[in-house]
């Protein structure tokens, strides 16, 4: 099985690639839209701003290839951090920008009720996950994972939310719908817990 990591000029590809390889996956970095047609599963990483991410995906021609492989071809995909956020209908950052539209969701700024809490939300926070989620099988209860972000994905349907975190308010930590998964946190940076989550993605047959 080959996992393709989308390289659209943003994000820490190296850590994701190393983590997947340690877990035994064959990894191919997809620098061209046509590369996506040759892989079995897809990882969409990302750091930075929503608008830049979408404009890079568009300008490199990835949007159409992603839609064909994920929506029509039903290939399993994992979005990480911004790579998950762009799966939403729209992002609020810098005046608003349409996303890939795979989830009925909007990406909005984190608003903890306790205003003394810091933004960005950086560091280790525990998540509450859906026990039936294939992404979190075999994990201890309430595991700590590594987050670094200022925006979060506000989902229209609770059915799509597979995990949440508490930051003086409950926010989306992971989403899932059919063959699509996403995590707000960084599994590739979350030590043993994170590697287990990536391993679960590799074993997942939606």
């Amino acid at each position: 099985m080959t996992v393709g990591i989308i390289d659209y000029g943003m994000g820490n590809l190296l850590s994701v690639k190393n983590a997947l390889e340690i877990l035994g996956a064959e990894v191919s970095v997809c620098t061209q839209p046509q590369d996506i047609y040759r892989v079995d599963k897809i990882v969409l990483p990302g750091v930075g701003a929503f608008t830049d991410c979408m404009s890079n995906l568009h300008s490199k021609g990835f949007v159409e290839a992603l839609n064909e492989n994920v929506m029509k071809g039903a290939k399993p995909i994992l979005g990480i951090c911004l790579g998950m956020q762009v799966m939403a209908r729209k992002g609020d950052e810098n005046g608003g920008c349409p996303g890939l539209g795979w989830f009925d969701a909007e990406v909005v700024r984190l608003t903890p009720q306790d205003s003394s809490l810091r933004i960005p939300h950086i560091g280790w926070n525990n998540i509450a996950f859906n026990l039936n989620s294939p992404l979190f099988g075999g994990l201890p209860e309430s595991p700590d994972v590594y987050f670094v972000h200022s925006y979060y994905m506000k989902c229209g349907s609770a059915d799509n939310v597979d995990a949440t975190f508490d930051y003086s308010g409950i926010f989306t930590a992971a989403v899932r719908k059919n063959n699509i998964m996403g995590t707000q946190f960084h599994p590739e940076k979350s030590q043993d817990i994170g590697l287990k989550i990536l391993d679960n993605f590799l074993r997942w047959n939606p």
């Binding site: 750091v47 960005p120 950086i122 560091g123 926070n125 670094v148 590697l195």
Partner: protein, 261 residues
């Protein structure tokens, strides 16, 4: 609940014994002692489940030379699956990109942010605020007023501490790494007054550093200093103490922190 973080700080310097990068400790930004290899040391910290690792090339901006960090961070990122912050001599968007592509998650800037504050805004615009750490090295003058120093503690800037921290946040920094030059390597405790001044003025996380010598110093830094994370070099490097011991003491003080059973 978000946890406070323990961050070993690995200071890197060109070795006196040949053309390689050595791990060193320092006292008040001087008196460097070579103590080993950064990559193997980082692996030990990974095994001890620290929350993040910080790598600083401490004489890159002093010498004005190119940094050595890219290779080191690449080697580390091959083997470690945890957050890595890297800095020292970072002076351009290209430096940011090179470090991020080689496995860094966050990049800290200090000297060249003071020289060109626009670099903070530019880097945050391209890579996101969460990647940009503003490092501030502070030292009291003879009247006890905090002054900001750059070039590894060699040049005073005349900048106001709190104003520079607030400006850094406005420009787009996502975190502040605050080091007390006076307390660095002394093991006498953190400068909690310094940390609190900055932590109360900004709304981004503050990583405090300089002076930890006892596990209780970490507790003080979190409670009195209001630090979100504490970075320590000398304290962890000499192995008399380890992150697990600190963790349990911090936990006992009622501070949220990751615990492993």
């Amino acid at each position: 609940m978000i946890k406070r973080r323990l961050i070993p700080k690995l200071l890197l310097k060109r070795s006196k014994y040949g053309n390689k990068v050595a791990l060193v400790t320092s006292v008040k930004f001087c008196d460097h002692i070579e103590i080993g290899d950064p990559v193997s040391q980082a692996k030990i910290y990974q095994a001890q489940m620290v929350d993040e690792i910080l790598f600083l090339d401490i004489d890159a901006s002093r010498d004005g030379r190119d940094f050595l960090l890219t290779d080191i961070i690449h080697k580390v990122a091959d083997q470690l699956f945890m957050p890595l912050t890297v800095g020292g001599g970072v002076k351009s968007i290209d430096d940011f990109r090179a470090l991020l592509l080689n496995g860094a998650d966050k990049v800290s800037i200090n000297t060249y942010a003071v020289r060109d504050p626009g670099l903070i805004r530019k880097a945050a615009g391209i890579f996101g605020s969460q990647c940009v750490v503003l490092a501030i090295d502070a030292k009291r003058d003879k009247d006890g007023v905090y002054k900001i120093w750059i070039k590894g503690g060699e040049e005073e800037t005349g900048l106001d501490l709190v104003k520079w921290a607030v400006d850094g946040e406005k420009l787009g920094a996502g975190e502040i790494l605050l080091t007390s030059i006076d307390n660095d390597g002394t093991r006498m405790g953190l400068d909690n007054e310094l940390i609190k001044k900055v932590a109360e003025a900004v709304s981004i996380p503050v990583v405090a550093s300089g002076g930890c010598g006892l596990a209780s110093h970490f507790v003080d830094g979190f409670i009195k200093g209001k630090a979100d994370a504490i970075a320590a070099g000398t304290y962890f490097c000499f192995k008399d103490e380890n992150p697990m011991q600190v963790r349990s003491q911090v936990k006992s003080a009622g501070i949220p922190i990751r615990i492993f059973t």
